[in-house]
């Protein structure tokens, strides 16, 4: 930590390693080299980066899964995570949902001029820690600095490569009538945590994001010989969007039971207050697994080992009814149709 005490919010020129990111940090010259050497390479700590080459040369065996995602979140740091852990776990999870063991990640940082170096340092440390926790290597990267006002502090892109370990294809096309829908844990925490931090809603909450890597539970499902047909991590749009997407792609009907879906009491209360449906609230560390009916109980047992709260549960079943339809049987017994949101969830008037 070299940052001096007495932080000044304005960026002093001429460029030197001040306390804010400056355009020079992305200019390809000395300032940029110093930033990479002082801040990024030591944190990511990978021999591939130390070679200072234009790209990484990697060993991969077998079929490969490859994915990318860009991360924009406000605020950059929220209870239970930050944009760094989000960017690593998001891509790790996308690889895991392909039935793959995540191996390598690239990290692209688009930094807004004026971002406190302290913030950048914290996010970079978080990226490194999340990668370590997920067992992936950060092997290549890029840093750009854009004018003040051109980015919301910091955007992060990660791309990842993983080795496919699932013995059979995994995806919506494999979903069959009779399959069980297994949910890996309680839903809605990430969305509420971010909303509470962003909107200054003025209620006290201890809700933290569920942001977490999902490769370990997925690999455990595969290794225990469970017939995994389809996996989908729940992100924006929540459980509802994930199920509707799968039902539409698979051309099947999915019927879920509201009472079986774990939602923590504090998340539930926040949803009631804000007029939100927990099924539509974002998650960053939860997924649904479609498995053969006879494997459902074992899948729950495996998943509960990876969820501190042990909330994994069978929440529904795949049927042959109207293709693309997701229905949810409520507490009172009547079924309702579950659809994707048409836009953002907007809190209601009263």
């Amino acid at each position: 930590m070299t940052a001096a005490r007495g932080f000044a919010p304005s960026c002093p020129l001429p460029a030197g390693d001040g306390e804010c990111v400056q355009l020079a940090h992305g200019g390809g010259g000395r300032a940029m080299a110093r930033l990479l050497d002082a801040l990024i390479r030591p944190a990511f700590d990978d021999p591939e980066l130390d070679r200072r080459h234009d790209g990484a040369a990697l060993e991969v065996t077998g079929p490969v899964a490859f994915t990318t995602d860009s991360y924009v979140v406000k605020p950059l740091v929220f209870p239970g995570g930050d944009i760094g852990s989000l960017a690593v776990n998001g891509t790790v999870n996308d690889l895991a949902m392909c039935g793959a063991r995540p191996l390598y990640l690239s990290v692209g940082l688009i930094v807004e001029e004026g971002l406190a170096l302290e913030t950048l340092r914290a996010v970079v440390a978080s990226i490194a820690a999340a990668a370590k926790a997920a067992g992936v290597r950060l092997v290549t990267g890029d840093t750009k600095v854009v004018d003040r006002g051109s980015a919301d502090g910091l955007f992060v892109n990660t791309a990842g490569i993983g080795e496919i370990v699932a013995p059979a294809p995994v995806g919506p096309a494999q979903v069959r009538a009779g399959d069980a829908v297994v949910l890996s844990g309680d839903i809605g925490r990430h969305g509420i945590a971010v909303m509470a931090a962003r909107e200054a809603l003025g209620f006290e909450t201890a809700i933290e994001s569920d942001c977490a890597p999902l490769a370990a539970p997925v690999l455990a499902l595969v290794e225990s010989g469970i017939a995994v047909r389809c996996l989908r991590d729940l992100t924006r749009g929540g459980l509802a969007s994930a199920l509707v997407e799968i039902a539409e792609t698979a051309g099947k009907r999915i019927a879920i039971e509201e009472a079986a879906i774990p939602v923590r009491a504090d998340v539930s209360a926040a949803c009631e207050l804000l007029g939100l449906d927990a099924l539509h609230v974002a998650n960053e560390g939860r997924f649904v697994a479609f498995v053969a009916a006879e494997d459902a109980a074992r899948a729950v047992e495996v998943l509960r080992r990876y969820d501190a709260a042990g909330a994994a549960a069978v929440i529904g079943v795949v049927g042959d009814g109207p293709p693309g339809q997701v229905s949810c049987r409520g507490a009172i017994g009547a079924s309702r149709v579950i659809d994707m949101l048409s836009g953002e969830q907007l809190p209601r008037i009263c």
């Binding site: 539930s268 229905s327 507490a331 009172i332 017994g333 009263c350």
Partner: protein
């Protein structure tokens, strides 16, 4: 979750459904006034639990739905001015005006901010004294006290850059208008519990007496609705027409007197036009003379009433309980939340939105999957 799950208990719901079936000796048509109640009914399938013959008709209590289109246009016009900021509840942002909605205006650069309370809009005005900050004050009696508080505090704090675009409406005049309509078929009301939390129940007594119609002030959870229906059916079967209070955990006969006093200071009763319904005398609130300088219409020009274009949308009939959403030929086909023909399809309290959200678009194979 405590204080919620008790009101969604399946066994108790079935018990109420049986009690209603036992009490009802003939068909009755009831209207739930509030859009929040409509959503509970459709979401939990309360209408399907009721015996054949007990029909729930959806009422006009969706504040977003009845806000006249010219106010939406005015809000967009204000937000699009350089130096002006429009603060609104999120619900209003997708409401179509004649030239698009507030979300669209925002994407084109208008300064539209979602707030959760009118007092948040005051905070914006304090923090950004160089901007003219306007709060879009819509809603029924439920939101009026908080909006009045914003005006009251703005006055006390001497905030010169804050004003309100007011399009407030009142429930009792709308109920009278529905009962006065020649084609009216409503025989009993489930009145809006949160409106009555503010206003109390007394103003409904003359309506019950004059029109010989039972009015049961009702809450928003499934068991609230079922108990409200039960109380209403009992009155009808007994030939009574009284104001009764199902929502006793929130509503008192006198209501919230401090809220009423504040509303009385800041607002005055005026005639209002309801989107899809038309002009109703003494059915709205505008700023009182003492607060008239906080009226956004004085600063940015008066809202000019326009005729509503006749189109395929039947939202006016839906709001008056004359039609149900699935009876509209455009429902779920030419009219969806992405491409709404009317506000009832986009508002979170709109009846069309409730049917679309919880029962889905009509499907060609609907008949075979009905009741699944």
């Amino acid at each position: 979750m405590r204080f919620r799950d008790e009101y969604r208990a399946p066994a108790a719901a079935q018990g109420y459904a049986r009690a209603i079936a036992k009490a009802a000796t003939r068909p009755w048509t009831l209207m739930e006034v509030c859009g929040g109640q409509t959503h509970t009914i459709v979401r939990y399938g309360i209408d399907q639990l009721l015996p054949v013959g007990i029909e729930l008709v959806h009422g006009p209590g969706c504040p977003v739905c009845v806000t006249p289109v010219e106010y939406v246009d005015k809000a967009i016009e204000i937000a699009s001015r350089p130096g002006a900021t429009l603060c609104s509840f999120g619900d209003m942002l997708r409401v179509p005006g004649r030239g698009g909605d507030l979300l669209g205006a925002k994407s084109r650069g208008a300064d539209v901010r979602i707030v959760y309370s009118p007092l948040d809009a005051l905070a914006v005005a304090r923090a950004e004294p160089a901007r003219e900050v306007v709060f879009f004050a819509v809603g029924f009696e439920t939101t009026a006290p908080a909006n009045a508080m914003a005006a009251w505090q703005a006055r006390r704090q001497g905030l010169a850059n804050f004003s309100l675009l007011v399009s407030h409406v009142l429930v009792p005049p709308a109920m009278r208008a529905i009962l006065d309509a020649p084609a009216n078929r409503i025989e009993g009301f489930l009145a809006a519990g949160h409106v009555c939390t503010i206003m109390g129940t007394r103003e409904y007594e003359p309506i019950a007496a004059r029109y010989r119609v039972p009015i049961v002030v009702t809450g928003f959870e499934p068991l609230d609705i079922l108990e409200g229906v039960y109380m209403c059916v009992r009155q009808l079967e007994d030939g009574r027409a009284a104001v009764e209070n199902q929502y006793v955990r929130s509503v008192r006969r006198a209501g919230n007197l401090r809220a009423q006093a504040l509303m009385g200071e800041v607002f005055r009763v005026i005639p209002r036009r309801w989107r899809g319904i038309g002009d109703i005398a003494d059915s709205g609130l505008g700023l009182a003379e003492a607060y008239a300088d906080l009226d956004a219409e004085r600063r940015f020009g008066a809202v000019r009433t326009v005729g509503e274009a006749a189109g395929e949308c039947i939202s006016g009939l839906v709001l008056q309980g004359a039609r149900k959403p699935p009876e509209c030929p455009a429902f779920g086909t030419r009219c969806t939340p992405e491409r709404p023909l009317g506000v009832t399809m986009v508002s979170s309290e709109g009846a069309c939105a409730a049917y679309y959200r919880y029962r889905g678009a009509p499907r060609p194979a609907e008949t075979e999957s009905a009741g699944a």
